[in-house]
Symmetry: C2
Subunit: 318 residues, 2 copies
């Protein structure tokens, strides 16, 4: 019998993290993290994770296991549907594999739902029973907590704020729709839009951004946009504002529809600076109804949100 | 002691309805309905309703009272915030008034939430634990049922699909925003948009609509648009399609965000015909993610949805 160790696992797409926590404590007992190789696959990820977890647990058995997975998950069945980053994750029964391997109950959910749970139990959403967690980085994802519990929808697809439509005349998105929040507000898409404007010349705007990219427009990143914007680059500022306004409209629509108390925002793009946050807040204020109040907060747990959420998921179980 | 009579009341803005049901039965024991006078006020509505209810109850005491109100309600406190149609409803503690008058527990909610409950318990949403009810008539409102219970949000403002934004370049709405679903899809706004196009000539389109309105463009209604569209009027068809597409985008956004199993649609505009429904379904199909499925259904209870919802509300209590 263990002393109630919880095992938290985060399959992050580009990195794998594992940690153990003694129930009731507020600091990891131990934690490990490795980057996935570029030519890795699901089998490699899984073996690496199992090895890390065994090393963390020593000869102890966990009381419960919580897992965050960076891709769509069938929570009810505990099955990973696929990874958008790593091949070989199609229909992997991850919950059963872990339960068989460690002899403990496991729960597996996607990173947005798990991140929401982490922020609500241990982060910026502490004490808020009704909140939306939005992660804005290479994609735009979301997870709901309603009445203190994850809200997943009837197919486990709830929270897809990234593919809500905020402009019928917006640019086409990979999902087949136009003007999706993700198409307008994610880091890589904003970078691509800025590069495209630089290519066409655009009245000589964007000199700072061009210099930061050392002339290689394909090398422009979301982070570079923020740096250029902070240095006064008008084209970078306009691109960030367009993205923040699209995200703000999506969040305001969610607030009008579901009326959560807080929206907690994580992911790299939320570090884009004051201009981005100000535009976001102003848009949300304008598009929400006068009677609808919602507080926007930056995430508090940073890269550890999935692991802390995995702890909460292990505590709740399935 | 009564034989478990439930009293259902519907303050509908233009009409007042009351009905009594013996618990467990599926038909009204008795029902009454009157139209509100044009110069009425809250005090008159309330007295009329109390008289109707007393006549229905005879000397019996109801076991519980459920109330649908056509305007914003503070459900937790049982207080009507206001009516957009009838003056004198500001901050009326309707629950307490009814409980004191009839000596029975009462629950009061707005018509969209109550309609959602009615359709979910007794109408098109029967057996569906997760659904959105949308009413499309003079306005566009919505009510959620999640896990079989009304979801009202932290301020009781959830369900405001009418003021979600689906076009940043759309026409200005009374709420201060642009391109709201209600501004594009409600009956009076569609009629107004068609009248405006007729005023400007619009390449001679809209002859049938103009004839139906007998040349009086201010007299155009949503119903007239449907008639003209069915007779082949191109301008009327385009207007209906624009409205249905805006509503479809709003519903698809709600489906991507919350992933309900069904969306039940009621209200006069849903009788606009095949063109409207086809456009709505096509838009929802296009804008929802490929993995998100949602069934669109016409409401089954018609004008009685609020009364049946009031019965369900009485059964649940507060």
């Amino acid at each position: 019998m263990s002393n109630h160790l919880l095992l938290a696992l985060d399959f992050g797409g580009t990195k794998l993290s594992a940690a153990v926590l003694a129930q009731g404590e507020s600091d990891w007992r131990d934690q490990r993290r490795v980057f996935s190789p570029h030519d890795g696959d699901g089998k490699y990820d899984l073996e690496t994770m199992l090895n890390m977890a065994e090393a963390l647990l020593g000869d102890e058995t966990p009381a419960a296991i919580g897992v965050s997975f960076g891709g769509p998950v069938d929570f009810e069945r505990g099955v990973v549907r696929l990874s958008h980053h790593v091949p070989g994750w199609e229909n992997v029964p991850l919950r059963k594999i872990l339960e068989d391997h460690f002899g403990a109950p496991a729960a597996v959910d996607n990173d947005a739902n798990v991140g929401a749970l982490g922020e609500q139990r241990y982060g910026a959403g502490k004490g808020t029973p009704h909140m939306l967690y939005v992660t804005v980085s290479t994609g735009v994802g979301g997870g709901w907590i309603l009445n203190g519990q994850p809200w997943r929808g009837w197919q486990g697809m709830a929270g897809e704020i990234g593919h809500t439509m905020v402009d019928p005349n917006g640019p086409p998105c990979l999902c087949g729709n136009r003007g999706c929040v993700e198409r307008l507000a994610s880091g890589p898409y904003m970078a691509q839009d800025a590069a495209q404007r630089l290519e066409t010349g655009d009245n000589g705007k964007g000199a700072i951004l061009r210099r930061l990219a050392e002339g290689n427009l394909q090398a422009i990143t979301g982070k570079m946009l923020s740096e250029a914007a902070a240095l006064g680059d008008e084209l970078a500022q306009e691109t960030l504002k367009r993205g923040a306004a699209a995200l703000g409209a999506g969040i305001a629509n969610a607030a009008n529809l579901v009326n959560p108390q807080k929206v907690v925002l994580g992911g790299g793009v939320t570090k884009a600076g004051d201009l981005w946050w100000t535009t976001l807040r102003q848009t949300v204020e304008r598009v929400t109804m006068p009677e609808v109040d919602v507080e926007l907060l930056p995430a508090a747990l940073g890269d550890d949100a999935p692991l802390w959420g995995a702890v909460a998921l292990a505590e709740i179980g399935d």
